[in-house]
Every structure is written in structure tokens, then in C-alpha cells.
């Protein structure tokens, strides 16, 4: 089409798209691409003993150390990595169904609707650190609310943040409580975008509530679910602030998570190489997850249409 236009206009029309995306490209390069390569590059070095000593090139040694179970960090990383997968997996597997149920509940016309929606949503607006402080009081061993209730019922108390077999559950519950309301909003928006007449037609055909739910609502919420799966899974890797309040990763790293581990290590300049290497591993994993998720679901979506 452009060959019919005057040459000057043609030049501009070739340039315009590039000019339009230029600001974004520059920003992405400066704040995403460049730091990423910097991280990868620095993961190949060990800092010198003193600040004035130059960094030493060690190749992939930092990565080797991190997977060496006798190394002082490698011996911790595998357990923390497993914790993180359990934490993220459980958060997604539990919070999304609850979010859907909550969305179905508040999508009806009930008395005090605004209050219900607010009370489901309010953990989301609390800063995680503040929420963790509330939970720290609930979980406290001798003076905590949950144990006080347990003891008054004659049940044995549980050391929620000190028992190695319970601590991961405790920190996961806080995250589920915190995030579910947020995911509910997305399901609610998804529900409200489904036309009512579909349900009317289904009702005329004699479909009951659960038939409507499983045959209509869930399939139509598929896009929302895909989006939430990716968002909630990647988000679960990033939400670690509550560990600072609840258990600082203790006991014995049974309650530790990858990003909090990075935070613990970053305090010492001596660890810069390792910190960068763990970050590269973490980002690589999330990339693989996100891309494969898109591929699987996009394929499936095409088949439907």
C-alpha cells in the first residue's frame, strides 16, 4: 500500500512504529534487560576479601557450590527450594478454589453485600508486614490466641512457628489468607462479564445449579483461571515479607523461602556472587513456568474456538 504514497510520507510511516515503541524499549532495556545481564555477569564472580580487592572470576563455580550439599549455602538451598515449591503450589491450589467460592457467594444479591465483599477483600489491602504481625499474635506459643483456645478446649497446644513440621504450613496459611481476597476480585469480574441470558437458557433446558456451575461458569472462567494461575504462582515466589515477622526462616530453614534466603544473604558483600546466581536460577524457573503455561493454555484455547 505504501508504494502509492509520496516518498517522504513513506519514510515516516516506516519510522513511526519504531518511534512509538522507542520509549518503552529504552525503559525495558534500562530497567529490565540491562540489570538482568548484569546479574548473570556478576553471578560468575566472587568478591575479594576486602573492598579494595578486585572481584575474582570463578566461572560457574557459584552455581556448582549452590548445588553442592556439603557447601555452607548448597546444604541449605535444596530444602529451601523444595519449601518454596510447596509454598507456591499450596497457595495456588488452595487460594484459587476458595477465591472462586467467595466470588460465587458475593456475586449474589444478599443483604449487606458491600460488607461481605469488603470483609473478604480486606486482608488484601493490609500490608503483608501488618498482616503478619496479627498472625504472629495468633500463632504465639505461650500467649497466642490459637493456643489459648486450644488449651481451653483441653487440646495440646502447637508451636506454630517453632515446630519444624508445622512452620511451613503456618507461613502458607498467612499467604493464602492474604491473597485469596485479591484473586476473588478477578473471579468476580469474570463472573459479571458472563451474560445472564446463557443461564436463563440453561435453566429453561432444565440445568440445575451445579450443572450450570460446572458446564457453564467454570469453562467460561477459563481465561481468568489461566491468568490467576500464572499471577498467583509467580506472586507466591515473591511474597516473603511475613517471614521477617513470623520466623525469619527458622527453625533450621524448614520455614524458609527462596527470596527470603536471598534477602538473608545480601547483608554480606561476601555473598554477592551467590546472591546473583540464586536470582538467575529463580528468574529462569519462573520464565520456564510462565512460558510453558502460556503454551499449554493458548493451545487449549485455540481448540475451543
Amino acid at each position: 500500500m505504501s508504494e502509492h504514497l509520496p516518498e517522504k510520507t513513506r519514510n515516516w510511516s516506516v519510522l513511526t512504529p519504531y518511534l512509538l515503541v522507542a520509549p518503552t524499549v529504552i525503559l525495558v532495556f534500562l530497567f529490565t534487560v540491562y540489570p538482568s545481564f548484569q546479574t548473570i555477569y556478576q553471578s560468575l564472580f566472587q568478591p575479594g576479601l576486602s573492598r579494595s580487592d578486585p572481584p575474582i572470576f570463578v566461572g560457574l563455580q557459584n552455581y556448582v557450590d549452590l548445588f553442592d550439599s556439603t557447601h555452607f549455602l548448597g546444604s541449605r538451598l535444596m530444602l529451601i527450594f523444595r519449601n518454596t515449591l510447596v509454598f507456591a503450589g499450596a497457595t495456588v491450589a488452595i487460594s484459587l478454589p476458595i477465591a472462586l467460592v467467595m466470588a460465587l457467594l458475593v456475586n449474589r444479591r444478599v443483604r449487606g453485600l458491600a460488607l461481605w465483599r469488603f470483609s473478604f477483600f480486606y486482608p488484601t489491602v493490609l500490608p503483608l508486614i501488618g498482616a503478619a504481625s496479627i498472625w504472629a499474635f495468633l500463632y504465639a506459643d505461650t500467649v497466642g490466641l490459637i493456643n489459648t483456645v486450644l488449651r481451653s478446649l483441653g487440646l495440646p497446644s502447637v508451636n506454630w512457628t517453632g515446630d519444624p513440621n508445622v512452620v511451613l504450613l503456618s507461613v502458607t496459611v498467612v499467604n493464602i489468607w492474604k491473597q485469596t481476597g485479591f484473586y476473588m476480585i478477578f473471579y468476580l469480574a469474570g463472573l459479571q462479564s458472563i451474560p445472564r441470558d446463557i443461564y436463563e437458557a440453561a435453566a429453561l433446558d432444565g440445568a440445575g445449579y451445579f450443572q450450570q456451575l460446572f458446564r457453564l461458569t467454570l469453562p467460561l472462567l477459563r481465561r481468568t483461571t489461566l491468568f490467576l494461575l500464572i499471577v498467583s504462582f509467580t506472586y507466591a515466589f515473591q511474597t516473603v515479607e511475613h517471614l521477617q515477622v513470623l520466623n525469619q526462616g527458622n527453625p533450621a530453614d524448614r520455614g524458609n523461602l527462596l527470596l527470603y534466603f536471598v534477602f538473608q544473604l545480601i547483608g554480606s558483600r561476601r555473598n554477592l556472587g551467590y546472591v546473583n546466581a540464586i536470582t538467575v536460577i529463580l528468574v529462569g524457573l519462573l520464565l520456564i513456568f510462565t512460558i510453558s503455561n502460556f503454551l499449554i493454555f493458548e493451545r487449549g484455547g485455540d481448540d475451543d474456538q
Partner: protein, 433 residues
Amino acid sequence: MMRRTLLMLVVLVCVLPVAIGISAQDDITLDFYFPTAVDGPIVSTIEGYVAQFNEANPGITVVPSYTGSYTQTRDTIVAEGMEPIVDVAVMLSTDLYSFIQEETIVPAQSFIDTMDDPAAFVDDFFPAMLLNSRDADGTIWSIPFQRSSVALYYNADLFEAEGIAVPTNTEELIAAAQALQTEDRAGLLIPVAGGFPTWMYQAFAAGFGQPLTAEDPSVVNFNSEASLDAVTFLTLVGTSAEDGGYGVGPAGGSAWGETPTAFLAGQAAMIYHTSGSLSNLLNNADFTVGVAFAPSGPEGPATVLGGGNMYIFDDGSKTQEELDAAWAFVEFMSSPEIQSDWGVASGYVAARQSAWDMEPLASRVEEFPQYGVTRDQLDVAVMEFSSYDSINIDGIVNSTLSGILSGEVPLEEAQATLDTAQAQIDGLLDAYR
């Protein structure tokens, strides 16, 4: 009328900083970072001292900044690319070698040597208070400011009612805890759960015969016999009697912040905690709070020091005048007058011997002899863990202890776990030997 006053105020607020800025142009301005680690109105107290200093020293303006916890303060200072670096900061006394490696601190010794009477200045500090200030060569790098130690607090009313003597060693400690514990009351809480078991553990390692570290910063004794005895004792405190333990506290120990709360609520007969909690406990207990030397060893009491010192920083950009001004401020904050007031306001152990003969501390000790116990306990105190690469080694020690204390690692495997940790520690320290 009201509106005009308001307007005047607004104008004043806008103009005043400018006016001050102009008049202070030739002055030296010092940035001072400080963390807090105990309860109470600590920030306003410190700002009050800074105001006193600024008033008494025209030409120097110290700008105090509260920087959160010790860790946050350290991370703020160590963060790459911060230039010029802060002038003065309160940091953990155990961060000494980290900052020596960072090459960002100036030894206090270089200022002390220019004083009229260096010996008089140094000798007025309790010797124990300077243990973590000196490097292996004896050079003083940092000046004690907010110092504490591990102490035993006990419910004195309970002890009197039951006719039990205050324990002086681990055997008596367990006997007293077993005698005083009930359904609703733990006999003894030692805060080794969560956060940082390393500090409490150090008091017991010293009590059982060998402290975790000594002067040489490239040596850490984590798999010694004393270390195993200490961690075994701490584990048994929280192990039930059926499982062969003493069964006088919660499994895995208590959490740091909950321990004083439980004690105040009458849910514990005795607790181990920092001497810095003394004012809080005395002010809030509805029973008589007793303080005793920490009975951490089979032969008798032993404790470990803790807390923060003042460091002077220079990244090479500071003038001698600025450094001298920074020292003047450090000297002021460690003066007996300030230390005496600080000891009362915060509960920290005043580091200068002469501070204890001054008001307000002198009359506070007279009224509450408990304060004197934390001072006298310095005689049985060992230096706090200090080494090269201390942040990583602290991490290894913490997670190893936490594994054993929480029951994750059974006691039979404790020695092997300590050996593994020791090998990792030696791997890190080899670079410095």
C-alpha cells in the same frame, strides 16, 4: 486574627530552615545512624542527647536518623555506591571485622591516642565492655554505647513463697524450674526459638567451658565438647520428662518477643533474656522481679555480652575536621554523664564505671538493686561471637542450632551436625588464615 497567626506560622516554618541553612553554612554537619533493639521511647531519648551535643558544640550539627534494626542499619551502610558514607553509626559490636574488611571505619584508637590522658579514658570502661571493641592486636575500633548481657530474671515472690534459693548453676536452675512449674506456668523460658538462638547459646557454651570465639577472628569453636554440652542442655530444657528431658519449658524454646510477655503474665517462673529488658520488666510486673547472674554452667554463672557500639566511618572523602567532630560526638555519647542517664532511660548497662556514681543512675541502683546485678555480672561475661565473615558464620551457627533445638535433628546426631557445620565454617575462615 486566627487566620493571620496561621499565616505567620506557615511563613515562619518555610523561612526558618532557610535561615538556619544560611547561618550554618560553615558548620560541620554529621550524619548519625542509630538502630533500636529494646522497648521504650528510645528514639526521643537519643534525639535529646544529640540536641544537647549540638547546643554545647556550636560549629557542629549532628543530624540523627533512626534506621530500624541493627541489620537494616548495617545493610543501609554497606549498600554499594553510598557516598559519602555516614559519619557516625551505632552498630553491633560484632560487626567489627565486617567493617574492617569493608575498609570503611576509622579506629577509635587513633583519636584516643591524641587525648590528654588516654589511659584514664580507656580504664574507665569496664574491661568486659571493650572485649568486642578491640581487634586481635589490641587496637580499639569502636566505643561501647548500648551494651547488654544475658541475664536470669525470676519471679521473686514465687521463690520466697516456696522457700527456694536462687539458682547459681545449671543443676540448681533445673531443680528450681521443676519445683516451680505448674499446669499454667513454665518453669523456665529460654528464648532460643525463631530469630537468633546463637546469643543465648553462647552464654551456655561459655558456662560449659569454651566460648564460641576468642580474640583470634579466624577461629570459631563450634564442635567443641562444651558446645555439644550447651546445645544438649538447651534441648533437654524443652524435652518432656517421658522423653528423657527436663521438661521445664516449651519444646524448641520460647520466642524472643513472647518471653518477657509470658513472664509478666505469670506464665513463667524464670526467664533468660537481655539485661536491656530490665526497665520494661520492673515497670510492668505486678510481682517482685528478681535478677541474677545467668546460671549457665555446671560450675557456676556465665554470660555473654551483646549490644551496639559507636563506629566512625570514612570512605576517604572526610576531612580531619569532620573526623575530629565525629570523635567529639562519640566521646560525648560515651561520657559518664550520658551513660548514667542512658542506663536509666533504656535499661542498657552503662559502660563507664564512673557513670554508676552519678545521677540519675546512682539513685536508681539504690532504689532497684537489680540494676547493680547486670553491672556486677560483667565479671563472668565473655566476649560476643566475633570473626571474619561473621554474617555467614552466624548464619551457619544459627541454622545448625535451630535444627538441633527444634528437634529436626535428634540429639544423637548433634555431634555429627556440629562437625559438618564446623567444616563449613573452617572452609570460610581458611581464606583468612
